[in-house]
């Protein structure tokens, strides 16, 4: 993909000043920055909760926290990491990169963009308020797990559940508006000559992710609305006493929940598909198969939800259908993994931090994918269900998958955002410590899970002690290592690394975003570039 740009940058960028620049921002770059910082802050909030969990699990027995508080920690950790870290980080990256990658001056709907960001602090303010009230001795924060199964969350939910419900409503509205904005931008604002099949893979994966969001976030909104009316207005959607059915909650939740897990991984696939060709100095192998694989994964995500519910007493025909449909997902995912490996094959590779994270992603995400295949086998799932094996599986796909993708993306694009190269030595320290500690943290969970340690329990049998102690050591190393990342980002943003980035930044990079100056000007592509 090559682009000719008429160099007409007026260098008097009229940036608004003061707090108003951020509060009233309609600039895709500023909003992207806010999303990314929001996600980063939430990463440390949710991460601290994970450390409370791991500290309690360091030894068998109850040492640090009450079981009731432990449940609040697992619930809020999950909710914050899913809705407050991974999703906003992806939206932030989309805000920054999609307009620059397709040659658009901004997002299609800048005011809505502002609104979708500023709903998030409100949503998480509500959620965290419930924890603050709990710490002050006023009832409990949500304590029913991030999946909030009824009737635990309806009939037996604490009073703060209503805070949680409105918080989820606001997150949902924010995500839906963000997704509409991204689709409108991609459909209407592409530069002349940028056909769909010339779009960078990151744009493609986000395009498909946005459709997934639009299809399933309203279903989640419906589920929490039913909870709200069950709790407060006397309906019985999930209450067997009134003719409802709690198992139906699980069907509705996972109809949202399964596409949601692809919402949290497809943009990472996109990021990796940008980074691997750059550092292998080759074009991506199998561009169109990448696009079709992404679309197939998105389609399949709608017909596999009940594999989360194998133990609810489904008929054998249902178990078989959902088992085989789930296995099918391995095919398009395998296409992607082989394409990345083929892209590296015989390439002139260098191993800067983004590439290291990308390679670790391919390796470790694949491990998470394989444990997913193990879990999808219905008879085996009866053994694995609700054990630490499941915890190990989804942390491999979400931490070493989604989060590694985001970290790779930040290192890859931060020179373009700030105009400065990050500190490569610190980046490598961050990478190696993170990768090693993530495996020390999550790998032993496979073993204790297969041996039968249940998840969401603050205490455990003594035979699980050694592996849990290992996991806790890994967790603390992992957690504090992220401070290196924070320091590196701040150092780069402030220009203290002393190395200016060139426009192209990376030797092997290609695409419209690398034709802009570094740092990218406040207004870019006011005249659309011509893509050939």
């Amino acid at each position: 993909m090559s682009a000719v740009i008429e160099e007409h940058h007026d260098h008097h960028d009229h940036k608004p000043t003061g707090i108003g620049r951020w509060l009233f921002s309609t600039n895709h770059k500023d909003i992207g920055t806010m999303y990314l910082w929001f996600s980063f802050i939430m990463f440390f909030v949710g991460g601290s909760m994970a450390l409370v969990i791991r500290a309690e699990l360091f030894q068998p027995g109850l040492q640090l926290v009450e079981p009731e508080f432990f449940n609040q920690m697992t619930t809020l950790h999950g909710l914050i990491m899913v809705f407050g870290v991974i999703m906003p980080a992806f939206v932030g990256l989309a805000n920054w990169m999609v307009p620059m990658m397709i040659g658009a001056p901004d997002m299609a709907l800048p005011r809505m963009n502002n609104w979708s960001f500023w709903l998030l602090p409100g949503a998480f303010g509500l959620l965290i308020a419930s924890l603050i009230m709990s710490l002050m001795g006023m009832g409990s924060a949500p304590n029913f797990g991030w999946t909030f199964y009824a009737p635990l969350s309806t009939k037996y939910g604490p009073a703060s559940t209503d805070f949680f419900i409105f918080s989820v409503h606001m997150m949902g509205i924010s995500s839906i508006m963000g997704a509409i904005n991204i689709i409108a931008t991609i459909m209407n604002m592409r530069a002349p000559g940028m056909t769909y099949m010339k779009m960078p893979i990151f744009v493609w994966t986000w395009f498909i992710t946005a459709y997934l969001l639009i299809a399933v976030m309203p279903v989640l909104a419906g589920a929490v609305t039913m909870m709200l009316t069950d709790r407060n207005f006397g309906t019985s959607f999930f209450d067997a006493a009134g003719g409802g059915d709690p198992v139906m909650f699980q069907h509705i939740f996972w109809f949202f929940g399964h596409p949601e897990v692809y919402i949290m991984i497809l943009p990472s696939f996109g990021i990796i598909s940008e980074i691997v060709p750059t550092f292998a100095r080759k074009k991506i192998f199998g561009y169109s198969s990448m696009v079709y694989a992404t679309a197939s994964i998105a389609f399949l995500s709608f017909i596999v939800w009940a594999h989360h519910m194998f133990t609810t007493g489904m008929p054998v025909a249902g178990e078989l259908f959902f088992m085989y449909a789930t296995m099918l997902i391995a095919i398009p995912t395998g296409v992607k993994v082989f394409n990345w490996v083929s892209t590296m094959w015989k390439g002139s590779m260098t191993f800067e931090t983004p590439m290291l994270f990308a390679i670790a992603f391919i390796f470790l995400f694949t491990i998470g994918g394989f444990t997913g295949l193990m879990l999808c086998i219905a008879p085996a799932d009866f053994q694995y269900h609700d054990t630490y094996f499941v915890v190990a599986h989804f942390h491999y796909v979400l931490v070493t998958g989604a989060a590694f993708g985001i970290m790779a993306g930040v290192y890859y694009w931060i020179p373009k955002w700030t105009g400065n190269m990050y500190d490569e030595t610190l980046g490598k320290w961050h990478f190696w410590l993170t990768t090693i500690s993530a495996n020390v943290l999550f790998f032993p969970m496979h073993f204790v899970g297969l041996a039968g340690m249940p998840r969401r329990i603050p205490d455990y049998s003594i035979q699980f002690a050694e592996f849990n102690a290992m996991a806790t050591v890994g967790a603390f190393v992992f957690g504090f290592t992220q401070l290196i990342f924070l320091y590196n980002v701040i150092k780069t943003a402030r220009g203290r690394t002393g190395v200016k980035a060139t426009d192209q930044v990376w030797e092997g990079s290609h695409g419209l975003e690398w034709t802009l100056p570094s740092p990218a000007p406040f207004h870019s592509f006011t005249t659309p570039p011509q893509v050939k």
Binding site: I176, P218, T225, A241, V247, P315
Partner: protein, 189 residues
């Protein structure tokens, strides 16, 4: 911002309009899943849901086959009654109408209205379990301290799969939600 050409603004509006339709549609779909789920369970007999309808036709009796039907009584935790079947199990021929009774007693000192919800195990037998009379068809009111026999007349359909030799009929008695909280339009079976 540069001024966008008119045509593009229109097409943004069109995209938003279409996508909002999807959003509203999917929000509705979440709620449509409720009746779909009920119908699906009733048709397939999943969850042991039996047909809520009264059997009116007479079925042919298969005297060569015997099926054991066991009776289970459960109370929802908020229901303060006593509730048990008069007999634990009976052996019947498929097609033969059989009358059994359950006994319920209101041990509190106030009148309570209850609703029984039936369930049949194994689930695949649920659709072959027919009732011609059941206390679960209507709400039951017991005055303070009242004890009542509650009859069920059932027929096991002769088409019952051959590998099913034993059935369990379970009733759970729920306290009727107060008038104010009756807004849910979910069908009781």
């Amino acid at each position: 911002m540069t001024s966008q050409p008119k045509q593009q603004t229109n097409s943004n509006a069109k995209v938003i309009g279409r996508l909002m339709l999807v959003v509203v549609g999917m929000f509705g779909f979440g709620f449509v899943m409720v009746p779909i789920y009920d119908i699906f369970c009733e048709v397939t007999g999943l969850n042991g849901k039996t047909s809520g309808k009264r059997l009116t036709e007479v079925l042919e009796v298969d005297t060569n086959r015997e099926v054991v039907v066991e009776f289970v009584a459960t109370l929802n935790e908020e229901m303060p009654w006593e509730f048990r079947p008069a007999v634990d199990k009976v052996t019947v021929n498929p097609g033969q109408p059989t009358r059994i009774t359950y006994v319920a007693k209101n041990v509190t000192n106030k009148d309570i209205i209850g609703q029984a919800v039936p369930s049949v195990a194994p689930g695949k037998a649920a659709t072959y379990f027919q009732k011609t009379e059941c206390f679960c068809f209507t709400e039951q009111k017991l005055e303070a301290g009242e004890e009542k026999e509650m009859p069920v007349i059932f027929v096991v359909d002769p088409d019952l799969p051959d590998d099913v030799t034993q059935l369990a009929l379970s009733y759970t008695f729920f306290i009727k939600p107060t008038e104010a909280s009756k807004t849910a339009s979910l069908a009781h079976n």
